[in-house]
Symmetry: C2
Subunit: 152 residues, 2 copies
DNA sequence: TTCCATAAAGTTGTGCACAATCTAATTGCG
DNA sequence: CGCAATTAGATTGTGCACAACTTTATGGAA
């Protein structure tokens, strides 16, 4: 064995599929000058109402190093507000503005057509989502254990 | 409907799973000072013997804007050679050096343990790879058609 | 109350992704 | 041949991802 090609490696198939999907979203989101991660932030905030930067990071699996500048860019364009929580000034709470909610509505309509084009049958989707979640959880735990010191 | 959370969106589940897997690889590859895309280049070259930058791009689905600097970094560390093809000086042919092949062997051993940790049963893998390939192909075509002008 | 550990977000630096542009080599057509 | 169109890579600029570090705020414990 060994010498397998990239297409037989699950890690690469995931990497390629994720980028292909993101590119399709990018093509649609370009009309709104939104990047794909920015789109995810808008979706999350519309869903949750308001979230701290940390909660947003938990939802998207991203740290403040990625989210802070991303959220600042969306704030500077008027799509969301950032304010420190009274009683705990460390926490920055983020919420959509009315312009942000309008954007969410317009963008949702525009991307609605994309999931149909996956070529995945409706009855395959639930199983696929479950497999992807398992991979995400298991790899997250593995990464954590790889970084921890070996058992004392 | 609408108002669904990120975890129910296939695009996000793919994005999260891909990053989680890449992070596990990163934790292992750190010992070799290799990034995940650099690892994929080493695998591809070991598999194919030698490839032009364009062929490497076709295999990895990346353009020269990403590959050129990446390949140059690997060349500067002595893992591969870059030379223009005689008879067509536009083409740059890339191949592993002996050091590159040795790196491939060492890295392969180190990452061998990762696929077992996905938590995906052996008999699920083939179907999952097939679904991911379908998504990659279908989204690639959709992106192309979204960028082309409407049918004349 | 003072001080230290912890927590949350922001900052900095590197390397991808990708669009857009540029340069140079090649092809082909008049 | 002469030269416009094409092709292959490289370059430039923006924005993510992520590690490492800094800043500021909070919460205890002595």
């Amino acid at each position: 064995m060994a010498k397998e090609s990239l297409d037989d490696m699950l890690c690469f198939s995931l990497y390629a599929a994720s980028r292909a999907v993101t590119q399709a979203y990018r093509a649609v989101l370009a009309d709104f000058d939104l990047t794909y991660p920015q789109f995810l932030v808008v979706i999350s905030l519309d869903h949750a109402g308001e979230l701290s930067v940390g909660e947003l990071g938990a939802a998207m699996q991203l740290d403040s190093g990625t989210l802070s500048p991303l959220v600042q860019r969306l704030e500077s364009r008027g799509f969301l507000t950032r304010e420190r929580r009274v009683g705990n000034e460390r926490v920055v709470v983020v919420a959509l503005t009315e312009a942000g909610r309008a954007l969410r509505r317009d963008v949702s309509l525009a991307v609605e057509c994309l999931p149909e084009a996956y070529g995945i049958k409706r009855d395959e989707i639930v199983g696929l989502l479950d497999q992807l979640h398992r991979i995400t959880v298991n790899m997250g735990e593995l990464t954590t254990s790889l970084r921890s010191p070996a058992p004392a």
